[in-house]
Each structure stands twice: as C-alpha cells, then as structure tokens.
C-alpha cells in the first residue's frame, strides 16, 4: 500500500511540476570541458508560460566553486531568459556534480534544482598520489601506478623528483599503464620529494608526494568526565624545502 501511495505521489509531483509557470528547457546539463579548460559553463534556459510575472527570490549554488547568475530578477509572461552556472574546475578531477537552487514566487513550484554535471578529462590517473616511509623503516621501494585516462593515448611518461634523496624508476606494465618505483636513499631524516609526472609531449603536469614521516603518535586517551577537553589543534612545523633533481 505504501508503495502504491508513494509511487502515485511521485507521478503526481512530476505532473504538477510540469505545469509550473516557469518552464525549463532542461534542468540538468552535462558538460565535457576540454583538457586544460579552467571553467565549465552551463546554460539553463526558461520561459514564463504563465499569465503572471515570476520573480526570482534567490539563485544559489551548492558550493563556492560554482557561480550562478540570473539574467533578470523578474520574468514577465511569455518572456524567456537563462541562468548561467559557471563552475570553476580548479584542480578537480573526475565527474563533478554541482547544483544550483532557484527559488521563485511561483505558487506551484517555488524551488527548482538545476544540476550541472562536468566530466573532467584526466590524462593520467595516479594511485596512490602519496607514498611514505616511517622514520627508521627499511628503505624499500614503493610503487605508484600510473595509467592513461579514458580517451587518452599515452605511450611514455616522464617522472622527475624534486629531491636527490629519492630515486624513481619507470616500468611499462601494459598499454598506457606504468609503474613508478620510488625509493628513498635513507629513512633516518624527515625528507620529502614532489614527484612530477608528465605524459610525453604533453604540457600538463601531475604530482605525487614521497615523504619520510615521523613514527606513529601514541593514541590520546579519551577525556574522563569532569576533566577539561584538550586544547584546540596547533599548526605543525613545515619541513625544509626539498632540492630539485631530474630523473
């Protein structure tokens, strides 16, 4: 019975919203920004098919990385317009879904959620992007897998270490697949390196980090009733900047 009521309610909701005053050409947009694009822009067109003006109360995005703007505050009967959502790609990867919530003064449908889906092409997929050794641990090599992203053809990669304290070696494990072996010269000091990984003939650089870390900290005992909680966390000290070296 619950299913019947729920499913009937769902179908009614869709029918009702289809008769709202503001008619959207589409409320979900999928974008495929090109490699290297800084922004992905989605256009959501609408038309006021009702008889009274529609006023936009608010247009806000789900995150600060997306800016949403309406061309006008009020849409008269029969008028068309669009809301532009600009998604700043930054250094994001993979499929990003951002929403813009539009609130109007319509009686039937006050809130509309516009969905912007951006599929960011990734030339190289690196896993993991961080390898570490505990101080004093045996300096065995650790590997990072690099493989070409979907729709990319990568024949060779270049890896360079920013520090001479870490050695890198690249092995090809398959078509578009590579294994980068990273090994520190020693694990006595707290040293670090930024590994720059680049597909041959491509300007785009990817990064991984190799580091010698301090030994695990002892677990903190939970605060007993009546005792004060520990002080808020303090900023950690920055290690000295690593020197550069090309592999």
């Amino acid at each position: 019975m619950k299913t019947h009521i729920l499913t009937l309610t769902l179908s009614f909701i869709f029918c009702l919203t289809a008769r709202a005053e503001l008619k959207w050409e589409q409320t979900a947009v999928e974008l495929h920004p090109a490699h290297g694009d800084k922004q992905a822009i989605g256009h959501f067109k609408y038309q006021n098919v009702g008889k009274t003006p529609v006023h936009f109360k608010s247009v806000h995005a789900s995150c600060g990385c997306t800016a949403a703007q309406s061309q006008k505050d009020q849409v008269g009967p029969g008028e068309k317009g669009e809301i532009t959502a600009t998604f700043n790609i930054g250094e994001r990867t993979g499929t990003q879904i951002k929403t813009v919530t539009v609130e109007t003064d319509e009686a039937a449908n006050q809130k509309t959620v516009l969905t912007l889906k951006a599929i960011i092409p990734q030339e190289l997929e690196i896993s993991p992007t961080f390898v570490f050794w505990k101080q004093g641990e045996k300096a065995d090599p650790k590997s990072i897998t690099v493989h070409a992203g979907k729709d990319f053809s990568v024949k060779h990669i270049k890896v360079s270490s920013s520090s001479p304290d870490f050695q890198t070696k690249v092995e090809e494990t398959g078509e578009g697949q590579f294994k980068v072996n990273v090994q520190p010269n020693e694990t006595g000091r707290l040293i670090a390196s930024t590994l720059t990984i680049q597909a041959e003939n491509s300007p785009k650089t990817f990064y991984a980090t190799a580091r010698i870390t301090t030994a695990p900290t002892a677990p903190v005992a939970p605060v007993a009733p009546g005792q004060k909680a520990p002080a808020a966390p303090t900023a950690p000290a920055r290690p000295p900047a690593p020197t550069s070296q090309t592999h």
Binding site: S11, E25, A28, V29, V113
Partner: protein
C-alpha cells in the same frame, strides 16, 4: 487450442518478465548505498526517501518476480509490477519533456549509461508483456470459472 497457446505463451512471458525483475532487483540490492547515491544525484527526492527506496524497491521487485515464477499471489505481483513500470514510464517521459536527463536506473548503476530511447523501449516492452500476462490471467480465471458444457 486457443487456451493452450495462451497458457504456453503465458508461462514463457511469465518467466522472462520474472527473470528481468529478479535480475534488476538483485543488481540494485547488491549495492543499496550506491543506489541511494544515484537517486540523490538528481536531487528530486529528499535523501531519506531515496535511502528508503534504495532498501525497499529492489526487494519488492525480487519478491514480485518470484511470485510470478511460483504463481503465488500472482495477480498481486502482476499489479505491483505494472504500477511500478507505469510510474517509471510516466516519470521518465515527464522528466524528459521538462529537460531532466533522468533514467529510471532500473538496473541500478549498471544502466546509468543507457540512452533515454533504450530505457523507454525496455519499459514499453515490459509493460506490453505485463499487459499480455494480465489478459491471459483473466482469460484463465474466466475459463476455470465458467461451467463445463453438458
């Protein structure tokens, strides 16, 4: 003769429809967490409702499919499956008409890359089969209810 043909067709279509719904239900039941996230991606239903559907709907499909196979609560299963398919169809068509890029997710995350026409064709095909099953079920009920000729 007509009744035997209907009987045979009924059984074959029964098993095919049951298999489709059981397969779809199992695929979704294997990863309800991902199904809840897929439902949430379209921001149509509140998160809580999406989670409830993600846990409930796959099992409804599986049990209705099993009911068709074992002919237990047969008409009840047929009616539930018919309502489900009609709702999915109405929702998909209405959403598409509004520009919403929605697929019913019948086969969970596995069907996310199917095109709208593919989904529509499958749903219409299943609805047609369910309609045929309903017809055969009614015909069978009438045949067993009518008295034997003297």
């Amino acid at each position: 003769m007509r009744f035997s043909l209907c009987n045979l067709l009924w059984r074959i279509v029964d098993l095919i429809i049951a298999a489709i719904f059981i397969y779809a239900g199992v695929l979704k039941a294997l990863d309800p967490v991902q199904l809840a996230r897929d439902i949430d991606h379209y921001k149509i239903l509140p998160w809580t409702v999406g989670v409830a559907l993600a846990f409930y709907l796959p099992w409804l499909e599986i049990f209705c499919g099993l009911a068709l196979i074992f002919r237990l609560f047969y008409r009840g299963a047929l009616s539930i499956l018919t309502v489900l398919v009609v709702v999915f169809l109405v929702a998909t068509i209405a959403a598409k008409a509004r520009g919403l890029d929605i697929t019913c997710g019948c086969f969970g995350h596995a069907s996310q890359n199917w095109s709208f026409p593919t989904h529509l064709a499958l749903d219409l095909g299943i609805l047609a089969a369910l309609a045929a099953l309903c017809y055969c079920s009614v015909a069978r009920a009438r045949a067993s209810a009518s008295p034997a000729p003297m």
